[in-house]
């Protein structure tokens, strides 16, 4: 589904990603871990099309298309979803209005009929249950005045509404208490199917108790330096990142 080859990206001339290779197939869950500043969030942003990052080398294909060639909105319409680390508060834009616009633009792109108000509301009610979303939140402006947990839940709710084929969760666990973490993970797990894939970007192993990955990759200095299964995450939890840093840095000096 997603093939990343030798991806290099920089921001304002500073290289952040230095040759990422990754293959994600339908039905898989990949966790990307790594110390702060290793490039985890940059990878998520580049895949979603954030303009501040310049891709200097490499290629990314998604369902056979050149992903890097698409605008952020077309990536979303093709089925890429980024759950933001810091969801943006947008005063004056109602959550419901925003979602209906988004859902219908995605549907239009896919050649599907726009949902009328009734059908949209039915869909919304159904998906709200998934993340125990309070209806009151949706009558407010988008993310405005939401608590940290509510914002993250809203991200997963939006994901449910847009039914992406590739979901990228960027530090979705950060700042969540255990109840919120359970609700969010539960939502993600219910959305999982054999046809879609998930990339979980996280600093901590804790989330992976709830969203169990098929593969764990460690990102350091803009490269994937180690890959393994969920046991690797537990090892990282126990030993921290220093041993990996040492391993990589000693190789570099040799």
């Amino acid at each position: 589904m997603l093939t990343i080859k030798n991806l290099h990206a920089s921001i304002e001339g500073t290289p952040i990603l230095r040759g990422i290779n990754l293959e994600v197939k339908a039905g898989e869950v990949h966790a990307i871990m790594g110390p702060n500043g290793s490039g985890k969030s940059t990878l998520a942003s580049v895949l979603a099309g954030r303009e501040e990052y310049e891709v200097t080398e490499g290629e990314v294909s998604f369902k056979g298309k050149d992903l890097l060639d698409l605008s952020p909105e077309d990536r979303a319409r093709e089925g890429v979803f980024l759950a933001f680390q810091y969801p943006v508060e947008i005063p004056g834009v109602s959550s419901t209005n925003f979602l209906r616009t988004a859902v219908n633009q995605v549907r239009e792109y896919r050649g599907e009929e726009a949902l009328d108000a009734v059908k949209f509301l039915t869909l919304m009610k159904e998906k709200m249950k998934l993340v125990e979303m309070d209806q009151k939140l949706l009558s407010r402006a988008l993310n405005e005045g939401f608590s940290g947990g509510e914002k993250k839940r809203n991200e997963i709710f939006q994901m449910a509404m847009l039914a992406p084929t590739l979901s990228i969760l960027d530090e979705t666990d950060s700042g969540l208490d255990i109840d919120a973490l359970r609700i969010v993970s539960n939502g993600v797990n219910q959305l999982k199917s054999k046809d879609n894939a998930t990339i979980v970007v996280t600093h901590y192993q804790r989330l992976l108790d709830y969203i169990v990955p098929d593969f764990v990759h460690v990102l350091y200095k803009g490269q994937i330096v180690k890959s393994g299964t969920k046991e690797l995450a537990l090892e990282l939890e126990e030993k921290g990142y220093d041993w990996i840093k040492d391993e990589v840095d000693s190789k570099a000096t040799v």
Binding site: E73, V88, I90, F98, T101, A102, Q105, L162
Partner: protein, 422 residues
């Protein structure tokens, strides 16, 4: 600037001004002569070189006078779904035959009401254009809403303007509302000529005890409009006055809006939006004067500026020594969409009482790129995402309009504008 045009103008205007109100006109003339047109040194008109504009555009200082419009023209310019009453004006002259009668409200040409206290609220010595209008206003209307009258449907002022290049139109409106009266006015103008003319309008609103008055205004007269508008109101005890002003175009527009709070437990609200492109220049000067204890004012003005447009906001709040327990809030936010768009914003608070709550804030910035990306990342096209974000800014002002048909009309107008040049 020029003291030369001052005399000439007056002579010309007065020569064909309507009759009646001799004392009022003399007072206006004297006040104008004392002030003259604002110069580039005038603090109040520092960012708006209106005198220069008038000198450039207004060659023949004649009042344009009344003209005829048809019932079809009236009908086609009332917004869809509007259920209120319509008062028709041509160049400021009340067209009674084409207008509705509003049950329970006295409405007549101003010329039939020589006894009113014109100039007692919008005092001519405070502003030269107010004085100029008082010296030589033409036509006008008198509206009296009796005590306890609840006028449920809004009253629409439908102003048709048609003038030769360089002519002057000076409408005058007097509104008085008795104790406990409630009424909503909508001011909408239609420009029938594409020449450059000058509209200099004064509206005085006299509120009673516990009156509720709403005054909405949409300015969309096109790229040639040169307009100065003075709207001033007195609010008494327990009264409330709410103004919503939306400016979408104009070569040079200056709005002076003043609220005098003369009774306790009363409230003045001022909401404004200016959505400009091209070379439009819109200047909003607001003034709220808290003179008694326990009153409140709320002010929110928002600007979206593209092209080489220019916005000016100057918000004065006076809290007099007696006006303890005043709550006054003011906010002005601007988004500049181009390198050449300019905003001058200035809060001006003078607080003499010591137990008050006042806040003010102004911001000027670009469209939030992070918010734009967020919307795009959800599949919303860039153009539409921009439109949504800009509309969100405008919506915070428009939502204060209570009449649904007018609100929908404003929304449609704003969205159309946002869809074209922004």
């Amino acid at each position: 600037m020029s003291t030369l045009i001052k005399q000439d103008i007056l002579v010309e205007l007065l020569a064909n001004a309507g009759t009646g109100f001799e004392q009022v006109r003399v007072a206006g003339k004297e006040a104008f002569q004392a002030q003259g047109f604002p110069t580039n040194k005038s603090e109040e008109y520092k960012f708006t070189a209106i005198t220069k504009k008038i000198e450039q555009r207004i060659q023949n200082f004649q009042l344009a006078g009344a003209f005829e419009v048809t019932a079809e023209q009236v009908k086609s310019n009332v917004f869809e779904g509007f259920e209120g009453d319509v008062l028709v004006f041509t160049n400021g002259h009340f067209q009674q035959a084409l207008s509705s009668t509003v049950e329970g409200v006295e409405i007549s040409p101003l010329s039939e009401k020589a006894s009113t206290a014109l100039g007692s609220i919008a005092k001519p010595e405070k502003d030269p254009f107010c004085a100029l209008n008082q010296s030589s206003f033409d036509g006008g209307v008198f509206i009296s809403v009796p005590k306890k009258a609840q006028i449920q449907k809004p009253i629409l002022f439908l102003n048709f303007f048609k003038a030769n290049a360089g002519q002057v139109i000076q409408p005058r409106v007097w509104i008085e509302a008795g104790d406990f009266a409630e009424v909503t006015f909508i001011n909408h103008s239609v420009n029938l000529s594409d020449t450059s003319y000058f509209v200099n309008k004064v509206v005085e609103v006299k509120g009673g005890v516990n009156t509720q008055i709403r005054y909405y205004k949409l300015q969309n007269e096109g790229e040639n409009a040169i307009e100065v508008s003075n709207i001033e109101t007195d609010i008494q005890k327990d009264g409330r006055f709410t103004s919503v002003n939306i400016s979408l175009s104009g070569e040079m527009v200056r709005n002076n809006l003043s609220i005098n709070i003369l009774g306790s437990n009363s409230e003045g609200n001022m909401y404004g939006l200016y959505l400009l492109d091209g070379k439009s220049h819109v200047d909003n000067h607001t003034n709220v004067d808290h003179t008694v204890p326990h009153s409140e004012s709320n002010e929110l003005y928002k600007g979206i500026l593209a092209g080489s447009s220019r916005g000016v906001f100057n918000g004065k709040i006076f809290v007099r020594q007696d006006a303890q327990k005043t709550n006054a809030f003011q906010q002005n936010n601007n988004i500049l969409l181009s390198e050449d768009a300019v905003v001058n914003t200035k809060p001006q608070l003078e607080i003499w009482a010591d137990d008050v709550k006042c806040s003010h804030g102004c911001t000027t910035g670009q469209l939030d790129e992070e918010a734009l990306f967020y919307l795009q990342a959800r599949g919303i096209g860039k153009e539409q995402a921009r439109g949504l974000l800009l509309y969100a800014v405008a919506g915070e002002v428009i939502e204060h309009i209570t009449d649904e048909s007018f609100r929908d009309y404003c929304i449609a107008q704003v969205q159309e504008r946002l869809g074209s040049n922004f």
